[in-house]
């Protein structure tokens, strides 16, 4: 290879620069940051198990929405037989009382912006 020294140094500089965001985050500890979600203030289990809710709560909420609005069915029967009123601001926020410490924290971390709350009401805000 001609100019091997220069080429290799150039490659190293290039690699350092392109991976800068990754190792910068590792060095400052941001890479391991996980948002801390507030524990439910009430009840000892959710309408579905935690792994499912973490990954798929949006699907569940979409299903709830369709059932309630389009089919006028409002009572959800969980896998363990418990009945729940399918309501975001009622049932969900009943236990996860502070949406800013639960929904918003994770959504902010994931940089997703669902617009649930433009219409649905956080009852705490309007006591």
């Amino acid at each position: 290879m001609y100019d091997a020294g220069k080429v290799i140094i150039g490659l190293i500089v290039f690699l350092v620069l392109i991976t800068f965001p990754t190792w910068y985050n590792v060095a400052t500890g941001k890479a391991t940051y996980v948002p801390e979600l507030e524990k439910a203030v009430r009840g000892d289990h959710c309408v579905a198990d935690t792994t499912y809710m973490k990954a798929k709560h949006m699907d569940l909420l979409n299903q709830w929405r369709d059932m309630v609005v389009r089919q006028d069915k409002r009572i959800y029967v969980a896998a363990d037989g418990t009945k729940y009123n399918m309501s975001l601001s009622g049932t969900c926020l009943d236990c996860h009382a502070d949406k800013t410490k639960f929904c918003d924290r994770c959504h902010a971390y994931m940089d997703v912006n669902p617009y649930c709350w433009e219409c649905h009401i956080d009852p705490k805000e309007y006591k």
């Binding site: 579905a48 059932m67 006028d72 009572i75 896998a79 219409c119 009401i121």
Partner: protein
Amino acid sequence: MCVDRRKFLQLAGLTALGVAAQPIRLLGQEDSLPADTSLIGREEHPLTAKRWAMAIDLRKCLKDEGCNDCVVACNKTHNIPQFGNRKDEVKWIWKEHFESAFVDQENDFVEETVKHSNLPLFCNHCDNPPCVRVCPTQATWKREEDGIVMMDWHRCIGCRYCMAACPYGSRSFNWRNPRPFIEKINPDFPTRMRGVVEKCTFCQKRLSEGLLPACVVACKEKAMIFGDLEDPESDVRKLLQERFSIRRKPVLGTQPEIYYLV
């Protein structure tokens, strides 16, 4: 290790297959709820009917011209904003002068009390709703089980075709974010967002909870009679057989389900 061309192509092919199969695996698990959806059901004691309809007894309604109880009750229940100008106005129940409400009443001489009155107007929950025909997203539709013309604000894209189609002016558009203009928010009902159309839904949420519509309950004269038109024993049906009633713009063939008893 020495990989010949044949071996390399085999490996590459397998890898490509594996990558291609990934989205199929993800597709399969997309919507599955962790519980049996067939068990999902209604509230315990909903009010049900085959065809909801309302009759408004004008003799009772017009006793107190200044009464606005039904409008106020509806506004409170459904978080309806008050913008204070007619341009942005959002209305589910509103009052209109008789001659504007019944434009096809051609008689020059009408009973004086009626002629100079302001009547409450609603969405007519037509049997043949033109708004439903034009909605491109099925955000508004007629419920087959009880005839209510429903709104799904999740689906509404704000095209306002329905407003153009409705011959009764029953639909309002949210030109602005309504929330700051709601006097006192009722936490049991959502608000709307900028860019959706809204209208009276015959209080379908209250019905499924076993309650009569808020306006019917609020009327101190009991001038609004709500019931099932398909049930020959219902109060509405009996009243419509006893008294003469008019509907708004019947010639259009929309078959409105709000009857005014004169």
